[in-house]
């Protein structure tokens, strides 16, 4: 088990980071090429002003008509996204491992905040899962991959919580924690999770089309 963990937390971690980084660049490059081929005018009317205006507006909670129409989903979504990014990056145990490997460290969350953030992530995922099942307009758009993706996001957080509480089988759970975290990282560029790095482009595209073509706001 120790050997498997050392392999998972060593070479395999590098593989997942490289797949993630290269995958992101590849997706961006492919999209730029596709836009040049199929939607050439995009490059003419893309506007930094309208793009940033739209991105900024959609980053403000309750800043858009759609958010005001769905206040619960908006609150859950903002809390979820804040926690899903902050907890792994600023968890003390993660920063400590990075410090021991590279001698670099940064600010960390108090344990209580990281704990609360983990619960927010898990509750948010249960909410999104139920929402995909129950709301007809969302269910219509949901396939098996969408549900599987929610489970994939839940795994590193659930196993982390489990290990924090020293639940039964903590050795297997920690191995699962590392493996599922790596699977999640590597999956980001190739699944709907790519909205993590594509959202500024989608939002910028919409903002530009609404701003400089239709002369309307897109929120």
């Amino acid at each position: 088990m120790t050997k498997a963990y050392v392999f998972a937390a060593g070479p395999l971690l590098w593989v997942s980071v490289i797949v993630f980084a290269a995958g992101c660049l590849l997706r961006l490059g492919r999209l730029a090429w596709l836009a040049r081929k199929k939607d050439r005018p995009v490059y003419a009317y893309m506007s930094a002003h309208y793009a940033l205006r739209s991105i900024g507006r959609w980053l403000v909670p309750m800043g858009t008509e759609s958010m005001r129409k769905h206040p619960v989903t908006t609150v859950v979504s903002f809390a979820f996204h804040a926690a899903v990014v902050l907890v792994p990056l600023f968890l003390f145990a993660h920063v400590l491992l990075f410090y021991e490997a590279f001698g670099i460290s940064w600010w960390t969350l108090p344990e209580e905040a990281a704990y609360a953030g983990t619960l927010v992530v898990l509750a948010g995922l249960v909410y999104f899962f139920a929402r995909r099942l129950i709301r007809p307009e969302v269910r219509y758009l949901s396939g098996p991959a969408d549900f599987a993706l929610l489970v994939l996001v839940a795994l590193p957080f659930a196993t982390g919580l489990w290990a924090f509480h020293h639940g039964p089988g903590v050795r297997v759970v920690m191995l699962l924690h590392v493996l599922s975290g790596e699977a999640l990282l590597a999956a980001i560029p190739f699944t709907k999770l790519s909205h993590m790095f594509l959202f500024p482009f989608l939002r910028g595209y919409m903002g530009s089309e609404f701003g400089s073509v239709r002369h309307a706001r897109d929120w």
């Binding site: 120790t2 206040p71 344990e111 129950i134 919580l161």
Partner: protein, 129 residues
């Protein structure tokens, strides 16, 4: 059928997660406090200190050289034939992350190199927070 509202879904999601979590903290509570590695520089414990029975550990690991852990370093080199028994690690290693890393360097790295001891967070810091 009336569509189920977002608030209802959120309520059910919160109940599900809280129910799961409320069951968990009871694990590992019924252990007597064992001897631990300690240093006065640790004023705020993120994890409970790792249990460590000095003599039993060294018998089992066949460690006879005190300076293997209680080393003396000068100009970046370990000094032969000297040890720092009786000193606190923090006297040289400071506090916070460098001190924690020094402990992990002695314990975890040796365990990893020899393959003979625990290396996961919860397998040394065995008492839950």
């Amino acid at each position: 059928m009336k569509p189920i509202r977002a608030k209802t879904i959120l309520g059910a999601a919160l109940v599900a997660v809280l129910a799961l979590v409320s069951l968990t903290p009871a694990w590992g509570r019924d252990q007597a406090p064992p001897p631990v590695v300690s240093d006065s520089a640790f004023d705020h414990h993120r994890r409970r200190a790792a249990p460590f029975a000095h003599d039993e550990h060294n018998d089992l690991a066949a460690i006879e050289d005190c300076a293997l852990c209680h080393h003396v370093v000068e100009n970046g080199r370990v000094k032969e034939d000297e040890d720092s028994v009786g000193m606190e690690c923090s006297e040289c290693h400071g506090s916070g992350l460098p001190l924690i890393a020094a402990y992990h360097g002695r314990c975890k790295e040796c365990h990893q190199e020899t393959g003979l001891g625990p290396i996961l967070c919860a397998t040394c810091h065995t008492v839950p927070r």
